[in-house]
């Protein structure tokens, strides 16, 4: 260390070097209002084009406005801020736009279903069946279809979720041993194949196997079996993913305490992965709750209440919607939309309940 104070340069020199350093660090910058301004400008321009040229309608105007916005903002930024900032702004614009585009159908569906569904939805609609109500007449309801859907989906979930979770446990926890690896690969392969089988084919299979071959009658239970086949691969895959991200450390910690493997899986691994497993299972339930084709083949439809899933045709919300929409009258279309709203609500309530339960039993935060 030198004891002498550093020689300070002459004032002019210092100002000059400060300025050079500042220039090296700083760069041009668009004002904070640049993005909103570009947005307003492109909207105004798009509406202008709307008047004078071929651009037509709200959607067309919005697309043109978006393109103009990207061009104006990127060009402006390129001129003032340089290439890197311009590319950054363009990429940001793209990401937000794709997000909005992906979100738009979801919002549109929810809005349409709520707005149109509320027209026919009241307590009577929930608590009466369609027995003796002609398609043209107002009134009637989805009581019989709610019973059918809850029973069919309930049975399918009761069979499918445990089967799916146990398959995933086998694949993740037990199949690592060398001698069962080939079986595991086969199971994994067929789960993938099952994911790809169209639901109508599954309906046909249950119809052939149970109704034609075994001589069972068409029933809600047959429908539930078809739905089970559809949900198993979804449950297996999601549970498998969740089990795989449970750290190895936790299993080892449990083994080192002298806890047997099955208890480790039951009390340590499954609770740790519970949140994700529940989400996956509920997504599978949501998927099968809306299936229509297999129901038409396995339980058909009825306008009457049938509490017994093991005998006779049973209604369900998807087939109800399909039937009412096909009838084509104003009253039946309103009923179809109201039933769609009921279906979405049921799935949402199931999902939220499951998430709340998982929150209070899973990983503590």
């Amino acid at each position: 260390m030198s004891t002498q104070p550093p020689v300070s340069p002459a004032p002019d020199e210092r100002v000059e070097s400060d300025r050079l350093l500042h220039d090296a660090l700083a760069g041009g910058k668009l004002p904070r209002w640049a993005a909103p301004a570009a947005g307003v400008a492109s909207l105004v321009l798009a509406f202008g084009l709307n008047v004078v040229t071929f651009v037509d309608g709200v959607a067309g105007t919005l697309v043109v406005a978006a393109l103009l916005f990207a061009t104006i903002q990127t060009g402006w930024s390129f001129a003032v801020e340089g290439r890197r900032h311009a590319v950054d702004r363009l990429a940001t614009t793209l990401v937000y736009t794709t997000f909005l585009v992906a979100l738009a159908p979801l919002v549109a569906i929810l809005l349409t279903v709520v707005v149109r569904g509320l027209k026919a939805l009241d307590l009577d609609f929930l608590l009466t069946s369609m027995r003796g109500v002609s398609p043209r007449a107002e009134g009637g309801g989805v009581y019989h279809a709610i019973i059918g859907t809850l029973e069919q989906v309930g049975i399918a979930a009761m069979i499918g979720i445990p089967l799916g979770i146990m398959t995933a446990i086998y694949l993740v926890e037990y199949a690592a041993q060398a001698r069962s690896r080939r079986l595991a690969r086969a199971v994994s392969f067929f789960v993938d194949v099952m994911t790809g089988v169209p639901s109508v084919v599954v309906g046909l299979f249950i119809y052939t196997a149970f109704v034609l071959t075994l001589g069972m009658e068409r029933s809600g239970f047959a429908a539930a079996l078809a739905l089970t086949i559809l949900m198993i691969p979804v449950v297996v895959r999601s549970t498998e993913e969740m089990l795989r991200i449970v750290p190895r450390d936790l299993r080892e910690a449990a083994y080192a305490l002298g806890i047997p493997k099955w208890r480790t899986i039951l009390k340590v691994v499954l609770p740790t992965a519970l949140g994700g497993i529940v989400t996956g299972a509920m997504l599978a339930v949501a998927r099968i709750a809306g299936e229509t084709a297999p129901l038409l083949l396995t339980t058909f439809m009825t306008t009457s209440i049938n509490w017994n899933p093991f005998a006779g045709p049973q209604a369900a919300l998807p087939t109800f919607i399909w039937d009412q929409f096909n009838s084509g009258t104003d009253a039946s279309q309103d009923r179809a939309w109201a039933a769609a709203l009921v279906l979405i609500t049921i799935v949402m309530v199931l999902y939220l309940t499951a998430k709340i339960i998982a929150r209070f039993t899973g990983v503590k935060r």
Binding site: A178, R251, E252, G258, I259, P260
Partner: protein, 259 residues
Amino acid sequence: MAKRIDVADLDIYYGAFKAVEDVSLSVEPRSVTAFIGPSGCGKSTVLRSLNRMHEVIPGAYVDGNVLLDGQDIYASDVDPVNVRRTIGMVFQRPNPFPTMSIYENVIAGLRLEGGKRRKGEMDDVVEKSLRGANLWEEVKDRLSRPGSGLSGGQQQRLCIARAIAVEPQVLLMDEPCSALDPISTLAIEDLIEELKERFTIVIVTHNMQQAARVSDTTGFFNLSGVGKPGRLVEMAPTETMFSTPTQQATEDYISGRFG
């Protein structure tokens, strides 16, 4: 209560790969034995074979004898689950169960091994184990909070409490301080000194000062060459080991002139 361990002619394999060769050593009851050596020399593997934890990895097996007070833990009628109840283990990274509270973490071993116990008895075990791990004063007012909310050093002491709650005879520690700061490390080292009164302790460490501070006996492991199995080069009382080692390799490693 604490028991001795005798290892004779132990070879450890991962499938076709021989990871450790020809290890023979003895661990005295109520003592601390440290394993030191460079990374990948098999010291953790040897440690894990002492309570059959290495078998968790598919394809792993041993050839040779590990005797716990004369009883072969690899005999065909021995259940590895029972071995691990007798010989507990603490890992490198603190790993409390994230779904459980501090209280539940401590009694996890007792509850999950299936025995039924009264609530009062459990409370006693929790207090005794947490006191044994020098953690009681810090957590006694928040036993129902999640274990993952503690600091790293506290989590590691929670894991030690969890391990000693099942009353093992031997406690294996696989680099228990390598993820901790110096103050937490000191806390754990003090704890090892106290635990020695009740348990036989074997510790793997990368920190030679730590081995010198806490252990009575030290074993030095090394690879016999690239791709060759690791072996126990030398084992001696810690003082002798750090002052007058008999092997050149040991002296090079301890004095930092390794390689």
